[in-house]
């Protein structure tokens, strides 16, 4: 989760998010190159005292500053497309989670083997324990197994919401009447936080998501005890 003074992307908890972080670093190479080039050029303008009164055209430079940007764009596009197709690869999820956005909470359904359903509300600040995270903690966390391919089907009951977990590189709109699917694998245990990412009314900022990544055995124990309850 982000902490005070956090500037960049959150540490990844999923191989795909790791690749997204590396791609972001790659894209930054190009951005730094162009920004430094243009920034220096602009700063030299402050000190320039020469003019060329007869300048009309320059065919060579026109070709240079057309071809060079095209090459730079190819340099960005190739890794980008590789990652784009990697994100859409077909895999065989072991667990399917359905999540439905409401005003203003998320509800979750696990219906693979046993029917488990619950709502997940943000814990209000006045009920938060000393070690709780303000505006991020929820009453019922979404428990999922680590090192397991997971499919999440996302929809909404009223207005458009968006289910996001930055550490897993997952974001998809929850649209009423539509099912959106995302897929991920968590390669480490822990708690991963997210917040609704589509304006949905007064409490849009107060319907967070908390994923609890646990061992497969713990997940199975939890889901069987939840279905009995």
């Amino acid at each position: 989760m982000p902490t005070w003074g956090h500037l960049g992307l959150q540490d990844s908890a999923s191989p795909l998010m790791e690749q997204l972080i590396f791609f972001h670093d790659h894209a930054m190479v190009v951005l730094i190159l162009i920004t430094t080039l243009v920034g220096y050029m602009m700063s030299t303008l402050f000190f320039n005292t020469f003019t060329n009164r007869f300048l009309l055209e320059g065919q060579t430079i026109e070709i240079v500053w057309t071809v060079l940007p095209a090459l730079i764009l190819i340099f960005i596009a190739l890794p980008s497309l590789r990652l784009l197709y990697l994100l859409d690869e077909v895999n065989n999820p072991s667990v399917t989670l359905k999540t439905i956005g409401h005003q203003w909470y998320w509800s979750y359904e696990y219906s693979d083997f046993l029917q488990v359903e619950f709502d997940s509300y943000m814990i209000p600040s006045n009920e938060l324990p000393e070690d709780g995270f303000r505006l991020l903690d929820v009453d019922n966390r979404t428990v999922l197994p680590m090192n397991t391919q997971i499919r999440v089907l996302i929809s909404a009951a009223d207005v458009i919401h968006s289910w996001t977990v930055p550490a897993l590189g997952v974001k998809a709109d929850a649209i009423p009447g539509r099912l959106n699917q995302v897929s991920f694998l968590m390669n480490r245990p822990g708690l991963f936080y997210g917040q609704c990412s589509e304006i949905c009314g007064a409490n849009h900022s107060f319907m967070p998501i908390v994923i609890e990544s646990v061992s497969v055995n713990s997940f199975l124990n939890w889901i069987s005890s939840s279905s009995e309850a």
């Binding site: 990844s12 790791e18 972080i21 590396f22 670093d25 790659h26 930054m28 190479v29 730094i32 190159l33 162009i34 430094t36 080039l37 220096y40 050029m41 030299t44 320039n48 020469f50 003019t51 060329n52 019922n140 966390r141 428990v143 680590m146 090192n147 390669n187 480490r188 245990p189 822990g190 708690l191 609890e212 646990v214 061992s215 713990s218 997940f219 124990n221 939890w222 005890s225």
Partner: protein
């Protein structure tokens, strides 16, 4: 005394060429700094972290700190 004739023309072009070279060097230097100080260390950090990562041990450590809702620490009754 004969002095060399000063350069009278092409001053702007010469300046532009000089600045293009300097800006190219500066840009690639900035990219080099980014790669050596951010991009490559980050890749190495991730590689080192996961090289001998024991997810189950980490799970037990977090669980025994009482941070999970779904499973309690060792010794604690459910």
């Amino acid at each position: 005394m004969v002095i060399a004739k000063p350069v009278m023309r092409g001053l702007l072009t010469a300046q532009i060429k000089k600045h293009i070279i300097i800006s190219g060097i500066l840009s690639f230097a900035a990219v080099g700094v980014w790669k050596t100080m951010v991009q490559n260390p980050r890749k190495q950090l991730y590689a080192d972290f996961y090289k001998e990562y024991d997810a189950m041990a980490e799970f037990d450590r977090i669980r025994n700190l009482g941070l999970f809702q779904s499973c309690r620490p060792d010794g604690e009754e459910e």
